[in-house]
């Protein structure tokens, strides 16, 4: 007999490898990583205390725009060093982003699992609540909530966390709906596994990868929302340096001392762009359908 040679009918697909084969991911990591390191090491690398005022050196321009090298990025109205404040400001933004992510993903995953696995009434109720929340104008509703309950870092994180769960729940739900019918879940059910065990041991681990994907979409939104709220004066308390508050500080001087607003805003752009670039690649690598589109 002639040996059958089995050839693949589809062309060999380019192996995605790790995300580090993608240039944009490396670029994104450099952008995000440098902001992250700056924020983490702010206490050591900052030339000045971020709150230290020096009224004799107020509104000094940056070194490259005619200022002295003492304040590389210039100073604000109270003579505080902008570079030091930008470095420290990253701490709040990133802290808020991480904490809000923890709340969003926990609540969203839990409700998405329940909604998808139990179905029926539970599913209806949870999805309707998600619809209702999505109909609220995000930022304004957040503003109102923070204004009513009082502006504090805790409230900010709490409300940003609550605001973001529907996105997670919807995607987790749709994953669960398809996982539920798979053979390995069926097998576990036949073997007598309880609902809780199936959810915990068989469905949850398979949902976790898509959480990473949603996180890369949601996190830039959280950072921008925190910055907007702080810009409007209802985010972090005024004595804490955050990028949004700093942009607002510079508003009255935009015509005369542009650096006060420009640098903290650039820090936001670099951070968010970095995460977006990383996120795009992670999505490509994890989701074969979107990889085909590249």
């Amino acid at each position: 007999m002639v040996g059958l040679q089995i050839t693949s009918s589809t062309p060999v697909r380019r192996r995605p490898g790790t995300i580090w084969r993608h240039k944009s991911a490396i670029f994104g990591l450099i952008l995000f990583g440098s902001m992250l390191i700056g924020a983490l090491l702010a206490g050591w690398v900052s030339p000045y205390d971020p709150g230290a005022q020096d009224l004799s050196a107020s509104l000094q321009p940056p070194a490259f725009a005619g200022g002295s090298t003492e304040h590389l990025l210039g100073t604000d109205r109270l003579g505080r060093d902008i570079l030091s404040r930008v470095l420290h400001g990253g701490r709040i933004s990133l802290l808020v982003a991480v904490a809000a992510f923890a709340i969003q993903s926990t609540v969203g995953t839990l409700l998405g699992l329940l909604s998808g696995y139990l179905g029926g009434r539970v599913d209806q109720v949870i999805m309707r609540i998600a619809d209702i929340q999505l109909a609220l104008p995000g930022l304004v509703a957040l503003l109102a909530a923070v204004a009513i309950f009082g502006p504090s870092l805790f409230n900010l994180i709490l409300f940003l966390g609550i605001a973001g769960w529907p996105g997670y729940a919807r995607i987790v739900r749709s994953e669960v709906l398809s996982l539920r019918e798979r053979d390995f879940v069926e097998a576990a059910r036949v073997l007598g596994a309880t609902r809780g065990r199936i959810l915990r041991a068989h469905i949850l681990p398979n949902v976790l990868t898509s959480l990473i994907v949603i996180a890369t979409i949601a996190t830039p939104g959280v950072i921008l929302a925190e910055a907007s709220l702080s810009f409007l004066g209802l985010g972090a308390p005024p004595d804490v340096p955050t990028w949004g508050t700093m942009v607002n500080d510079g508003r009255p001087f935009i015509a005369t001392a542009w650096w006060v607003s420009m640098f903290p805003g650039l820090a936001i752009v670099v951070t968010v762009l970095g995460i977006n670039l990383l996120g795009d690649t992670i999505r490509d690598v994890m989701d074969p359908r979107s990889r085909r589109l590249r």
Partner: protein, 307 residues
């Protein structure tokens, strides 16, 4: 089809009642709703009088029923600062916000559509990478900061456009560009990926094999099929990005609904805040409804499933 629209309409009303419910419980969660409506300097006697007059001493279910009924009949209470019905007040500011949103959408379409098509057709080239990085950057810029930078460059340095208020079309340029940049970026990305999807379909290969010009294939066959899913996603994103309009209004001192509501938040004029949030909810729900119905109408496959 009729049954489908009726069901979607039902969902919309449930969603709006839900929004009103959230606003109600947000108030209750503060401990004393009367205090939220009153200025902070109000005396204890004033507070008690207000409570009695507005029924805050009634059982909570009675209060809830009244709250929802009032909302659905268009009674949103009185603005503390303006001393007149909140609904009429907010409605006066709606046209300014709608014209800003429309101008931003026009900019997004004029910029985003050609860039998205170009990137899809040139997929994998340096031009594609450049365009998509640009689109992503547009999505990464905080709108309030972009507004300030535009004010600095085009208002202060070049003096081309007015930097605040509302007047002729020139007042609309900077705020509309500020909002439009993120929308354009998002639209270009959506259109590119949907167009690449469409270009990979069998009917495109058939058209090519038949010798139809490539430009005609893209314009007539691929674009037509790519625009529908792009439109749906874009419409939903518009709703999200539009909350950005509110902040941009503050930056440009543009007298729209967003600035009114944000000022009301700072001045604790809660009737105006509730009205603004509820109307934004109505706009979102209506937009969703229209998109769904139009989509069903345009795509026969969905119509079959829906019936």
């Amino acid at each position: 089809m009729g049954a489908y629209i009726a069901r979607r309409l039902g969902y919309s009303i449930i969603t709006l009642i839900g929004v009103a419910t959230i606003l109600f419980f947000l108030l209750q969660a503060t401990g004393d709703p009367a205090l939220v409506y009153l200025p902070q300097r109000a005396s204890a006697a004033d507070v008690e009088a207000f409570r009695e007059a507005h029924g805050f001493n009634d059982p909570i279910l009675v209060q809830y029923a009244r709250f929802i009924t009032n909302f659905l009949t268009g009674d949103f209470g009185e603005s503390l600062n303006f001393g007149r019905p909140a609904l009429g007040l907010v409605m006066e500011f709606v046209p300014a916000t709608v014209s800003l949103a429309l101008a931003a959408t026009i900019i997004a379409v004029v910029v985003g559509v050609p860039l998205g098509i170009l990137a899809a057709v040139k997929r994998g080239t340096a031009a594609d990478t450049l365009l998509m990085t640009g689109a992503l950057t547009g999505l990464s810029i905080p709108d309030f900061w972009l507004g300030l930078m535009l004010i600095l460059v085009f208002g202060v340095e070049l003096g081309w456009f007015p930097i605040s208020g509302r007047g002729g079309l020139d007042h609309l340029v900077l705020p509309a560009v500020t909002v439009g940049v993120a929308m354009a970026g998002s639209l270009a990305r959506l259109l590119r990926s949907n167009l690449i999807d469409a270009l990979g379909q069998d009917y495109i290969r058939t058209a090519r094999a038949m010798g139809i010009r490539w430009s005609k294939i893209v314009a007539k066959h691929a674009l037509k099929n790519a625009s529908l899913p792009s439109l749906t996603s874009f419409a939903l994103q518009v709703a999200l990005i539009l909350t950005g309009v509110f902040v941009v209004e503050v930056v440009f001192a543009y007298p729209g609904m967003g600035r009114l509501v944000i000022n009301a938040i700072n001045q604790r004029d809660f009737a105006v805040v509730q009205t603004g949030i509820f109307l934004a909810g109505v706009a979102y729900v209506l937009l969703n409804l229209v998109v769904d119905v139009v989509y069903t109408y345009l795509d026969p496959r969905i119509r079959l499933v829906a019936d």
